[in-house]
């Protein structure tokens, strides 16, 4: 496969089209651990190269938003914009880190402890 890319060619602020994260309401609720999965339709050419990079990254399986940002060498805030655009157009699906019917309660923390105790 290709060698890892060098320093990115497109500065992060251009990826977002100059938008600043807190101002965009669509960005609200995009937790850095939100899980992104791909749908089957290919984004059209009206999306930029960075959108396509994100979409290609997710071909083999789901990743969290923060992992996408790291692999694409983008700030999380920039990855949020790309993801929000592609979710809006139906090319990506997004799930919260904790399923809506689940909560961080004793049962969950007890399960976490079982897993952690098994580590050592």
């Amino acid at each position: 496969m290709k060698p890892p890319p060098g320093r990115r060619l497109v500065p992060a602020y251009l990826v977002t089209g100059g938008r600043a994260a807190p101002a965009d309401r669509r960005a609200a609720g995009y937790d850095r651990l939100a899980i992104l999965t791909r749908s089957d339709s290919t984004p059209s050419d009206r999306f930029g190269q960075e959108h396509h990079r994100l979409w290609r990254l997710l071909r083999p399986g789901p990743l969290t938003l923060v992992e996408c940002a790291a692999h694409l060498r983008l700030p999380v805030s920039a990855a949020v914009f790309l993801a929000a655009d592609l979710v809006e157009s139906g090319h990506l699906h997004i799930r919260p880190p904790v399923p809506p019917a689940q909560r961080i309660d004793r049962t969950l923390v007890e399960r976490l402890l079982v897993g952690l105790r098994a580590l050592h």
Binding site: P5, L33, R59, A70, V109, L113, H120
Partner: protein, 207 residues
């Protein structure tokens, strides 16, 4: 051109319902946060850089505007699958107050924090502990026992750190897996002790 990264070595999540939890690993500069995460993470440690604007500009962009200062702050993270449907993420976050916006973002929804300390400069952990307390996160303090750092008994460290009696303290070597795992167990037990006892109403039972 700037292509998508090779996907060969990327640890994708299984394509089914998952619960992702997070713990913040924090502490002063060079205290061993990344080492700790690397020791436990099942994926190679990942890295993001955030640009933070310090002047207020609610709906402006960041491009070439004079009079604004921007800082880049790096965070490392890793992850640990603990059950088929349960994954724990560890976020290494600098413990300086000037990174508060990033801190708030990362701390949101976090289970708790592990504060790392070095006996050569315990006072550097004070700011970190303040920050964690301000965020209302339960935490434990783990002293990373560097070979060249003086060793002290727990009671002495507790006194110097001015730790609340209920805050767990432990000593570990951030390169060593079992000690790091024990620290996360201590943190999770501490979190569990603070959670309300009778909190098992399933969401579907609620009106």
């Amino acid at each position: 051109m700037d292509s998508a990264p090779s996907t060969d070595r990327i640890g994708y999540l299984p394509d089914r319902d998952q619960t992702l939890m997070k713990i913040v690993v924090t502490g002063p500069f060079a205290v061993g946060k990344t080492t700790f995460i690397r020791t436990l993470s099942e994926i190679p440690t990942l890295h993001t850089e955030e640009v933070m604007t310090q002047a207020s500009a609610p709906h402006d962009d960041l491009v070439g505007v004079p009079g604004k200062t921007t800082t880049t702050v790096a965070t490392d993270f890793g992850r640990l699958t603990l059950a088929d449907d349960l994954v724990l993420y560890l976020f290494g976050t600098p413990g300086q107050h000037r990174f508060l916006p990033l801190w708030q973002d990362i701390a949101r929804g976090a289970l708790g924090a592990l504060v790392l300390a070095d006996t050569r400069r315990l006072d550097h952990s004070f700011e970190v502990m303040d920050l964690v307390e301000e965020q209302g996160l339960p935490y434990v303090v783990a002293v990373n026992t560097f070979p060249e750092s003086p060793h002290h008994p727990d009671e002495v460290l507790r006194k110097h750190l001015d730790l609340h009696p209920g805050t767990p303290l432990l000593q570990l070597d951030a390169r060593e897996r079992s000690g790091c795992a024990r620290a996360l167990v201590a943190l999770s037990e501490h979190v569990l002790a603070r959670l309300p006892e009778d909190d098992r109403t399933a969401p579907e039972d609620r009106p």
